[in-house]
């Protein structure tokens, strides 16, 4: 069935009609921008949701003017109801994890730059590529539709634990149609990602240009390739899970619903299902998903760091070997999300070990980065700042993993804000920093104009300090036993923690506001920015040896030939301290580790 897409890329001519050019385009560059745009919409939507939640948490009974216009049931008189808080929580998580952290660094930048970096004119299966975006787009629409149905969006969180997510309206508002829409949306999203991963893998394997050996692939391409291998297997498991969930919800089957449940005085007509089955399927996807979000960021940051440090990493091979190790291990650790889920306690220890071991490759990568900064000639442009900031937050989020990897500490920390702090730091903030670094780095190539560096730095400083003010305290709250996913804090022991929550909320408002600087910078620079040269950062990989923005076939009919590795920085080249991959000048002795 794959043949259905004509892979003869250099045969299709640039489309002329608006629809074929910008809407249903098969050009990987347009599709990449479409993914990036979708992620941009999602991330600001998700951020505004988090603002509403933070506001509600500290001013629980205060009215949010105008909210009742958005949802009459969700916010009578503007005061958010508990179920509406949970709806926002679910949508925030789903939007951020799926439509931002998966779409932007992987599908977005990957689509745009993977083919160029390997020297291809397009992806292996351009039509599948187009399908993959539009399926994802439909998934997005279906998800957002949940806001506009009477019951509102689901309230079961982005993990949609069964049976809460499976039993339907008895268990609460939003669990009727809202949850079904959610399941359909995620199912579609899986299809889109599978098509995407397929393209990434085939393109990397088969469309590399002359001289582009695997070891000459830029680190970012390595990251996207590894990510697509992870994603291929992860989403292939989430899809069946969604199918079974939908059947339980609409067809009356009992995959996840056991017998004898009495929900709102109503004895459920199900028997024999296993709630743990959902958790196993979901986390078998869910944990790799963390790496689907972070590995591309690791690649992007490594890629940018070398261009900013004007020297290669101590060893690029070690970095991508570690990424492969992480990807491999990520399939053996899903159980650490279920230490307290009533699994056989022995499996707790079994899952704990690989979880702790996975920190080794992560530490190696981090130490390689930090070690590489030694002796660098840092150029502090905005992409560089965000890359260095990435290292900092990646470490901050990583170390808290040590706690949660241990079942005995999970007894105290599971289900508290410590977990929230952990994954927001390491998966959310870190990945977002990777995305922002990539945005500032590649914007010139994608649009032909430079972004405003002053605004960029301002954006960086507020964001960098802001995220620490928001997410570090989460860990403290967790240590004090502050339970997550509460729409307000009624427990006596939580009252002393409210001031800290106020602080976090204020920090969140400021940091969030700073993101609009970025948005303004994007839009302003797109039209008014200084014209970008072909290679503004003196970088080496192939995307910089074509025009900004690249022509429809990426290299203007030229068949690029690659003579050098991607990391030839800090050498004496024709144009300065670097040698571009496709320049025929003689290269120096191979860089250590490559």
């Amino acid at each position: 069935m794959l043949d259905a897409s004509a892979p003869v890329v250099h045969q299709h001519a640039p489309p002329t009609s608006f629809i074929r050019k910008w809407v249903f385009s098969v050009d990987h560059k347009v599709i990449g921008k479409q993914y990036y745009g979708l992620a941009l919409i999602s991330v600001f939507l998700g951020m505004i949701l988090s603002w509403l939640m933070r506001f509600h948490l500290v001013w629980t009974n205060a009215a949010i003017p105008g909210l009742q216009l958005i949802s009459k049931n969700g916010a009578p008189g503007g005061v958010m109801t508990p179920e509406y808080y949970l709806s926002l929580l679910t949508m925030h998580g789903t939007l951020m994890v799926f439509f931002v952290l998966t779409n932007a660094p992987f599908a977005g930048f990957g689509n745009y730059f993977l083919p160029i970096q390997v020297g291809a004119e397009d992806m292996a299966f351009p039509r599948f590529n187009m399908m993959s975006f539009w399926v994802t787009f439909v998934a997005f629409v279906v998800l957002i539709a949940a806001f506009f149905i009477p019951d509102g969006p689901p309230i079961s969180g982005w993990t949609a634990y069964a049976p809460l997510s499976a039993v339907g309206r008895d268990a609460g508002p939003g669990l009727a149609w809202g949850q079904t829409l959610w399941a359909i949306s995620i199912g579609l999203f899986c299809v889109g990602q599978l098509l995407g991963s397929l393209n990434f893998i085939a393109t990397t394997l088969d469309l590399r240009t002359k001289g582009m050996t695997l070891s000459r692939l830029p680190i970012s391409t390595w990251a996207w390739f590894i990510t697509s291998c992870i994603g291929l297997l992860a989403f292939a498991v989430l899809l069946p899970a969604c199918v079974l969930l939908i059947l339980d919800r609409v067809a009356g089957t009992s995959f996840f619903i056991p017998a004898g449940l009495v929900i709102s005085d109503h004895l459920q007509p199900h028997a024999g299902g296993s709630p743990l089955l959902w958790q196993h399927l979901f986390w078998f996807f869910g944990h790799p998903e963390v790496y689907i979000a972070i590995v591309p960021a690791v690649g992007i940051v490594s890629h940018i760091l070398m261009a900013s440090m004007r020297k290669p990493l101590l060893s690029v091979k070690v970095v991508y070997s570690s990424m492969i190790a992480i990807g491999f291990l990520s399939y053996m650790v899903w159980g650490h999300h279920m230490f307290l889920s009533g699994m056989n306690p022995f499996s707790g220890l079994v899952f704990s070990f690989p979880t702790l071991v996975i920190t080794i490759p992560a530490t190696i990568i981090t130490m390689i980065w930090i070690g590489s900064v030694y002796g660098a000639n840092l150029r502090f442009h905005t992409p560089c700042l965000f890359s260095l900031g990435f290292i900092s937050v990646f470490v901050a989020g990583g170390v808290s993993g040590f706690f949660l990897a241990q079942p005995s500490l999970d007894i105290q920390l599971h289900g508290t804000y410590f977990v929230v702090g952990h994954f927001h730091m390491v998966m959310g903030v870190a990945a977002i920093f990777g995305i922002l670094a990539g945005s500032y780095f590649w914007f010139p190539k994608m649009t032909g104009r430079m972004m405003n560096d002053t605004l960029g730095r301002l954006h960086f400083w507020i964001t960098f300090i802001g995220v620490y003010c928001i997410f570090m305290p989460f860990h403290y709250l967790g240590l004090a036993g502050n339970v997550r996913r509460y729409s307000s804090f009624v427990d006596d022991y939580l009252q002393p923690l409210l001031p800290l929550h106020k602080f976090i909320t204020i920090a969140a408002f400021i940091t969030g506001a700073a993101q609009f600087i970025f948005l303004y910078n994007l839009i302003y620079s797109r039209f008014k920015g200084a014209p970008a040269p072909a290679n503004p950062w003196d970088a080496t990989s192939l995307e910089w040896s074509t025009t900004s923005p690249p022509p429809f076939d990426n290299f203007g009919g030229r068949h690029v030939v690659v003579y050098h590795g991607p990391n030839e920085y800090g050498v004496s080249g024709a144009h300065g301290d670097f040698i571009m991959q496709d320049s025929s000048e003689p290269g120096p002795e191979p860089v250590p580790g490559d």
């Binding site: 043949d3 892979p7 299966f125 991963s197 291929l232 028997a271």
Partner: protein, 192 residues
């Protein structure tokens, strides 16, 4: 897949742009295998979790369908071995394969009707649920394969656009579906 990678490692741009189709097929096969592995482990966990596991007699027609599907694999292989010289017979073999594929689907639908006849619906018991899930999911992939054939046959209409890898890819996928079906049949037979 690896062979192709090696070939390009020598720096030679693949001549036939169909090479991706072949490795793409293998990637797809990996994903599909993963999905059905997930379904299978769900079945095993589900069987252990409830005491409502009721044995279910598989409709006899399934075995007939198995034969049909395997036969279609055979005819496809014959078609594939033909060279560009005698496209006509290649095409006729492909048509036959296509017809057998349709026949297989018809047989599956018959099997579903037989089960309904016994009052076994999707939600009747975990066993019937899994039966329908497995067979329907497989049938969907067969449909995809048939769509591939339409394309492959179109490609074989003229010697100019004749590409063996197109057919190779379609064949690889089709044989995989046959193998997958045999596996599913065994699972259903042993577990349900």
């Amino acid at each position: 897949m690896s062979t192709i990678a090696l070939q390009t490692d020598r720096g030679v741009r693949p001549a036939a742009q169909n090479a991706p189709a072949l490795s793409g097929i293998w990637v797809a096969i990996a994903a599909i295998t993963m999905a059905f592995a997930a379904f299978t482990s769900s079945l095993i966990i589900r069987q252990g979790s409830g005491d409502d596991w009721r044995h279910l007699a598989l409709p006899g027609v399934l075995y007939l369908n198995t034969v049909v599907l395997l036969a279609s694999s055979l005819t496809l292989e014959i078609a594939r071995r033909k060279d560009a010289a005698n496209l006509a017979s290649t095409r006729s073999w492909l048509y036959l394969t296509f017809a057998l594929g349709i026949l297989f689907l018809a047989g599956q639908i018959l099997a579903w009707y037989q089960l309904r006849g016994q009052g076994l619906y999707l939600a009747t018991s975990p066993n019937s649920s899994f039966f329908y899930v497995f067979t329907v999911m497989h049938a969907l992939h067969v449909l995809g394969g048939l769509a591939g054939f339409v394309y492959a046959i179109r490609r074989t209409l003229s010697p100019s656009s004749w590409r063996t890898t197109t057919l190779d890819a379609a064949a690889t996928y089709w044989h995989f579906l046959a193998g997958l079906w045999v596996y599913l049949l065994l699972v259903l037979r042993m577990r349900l």
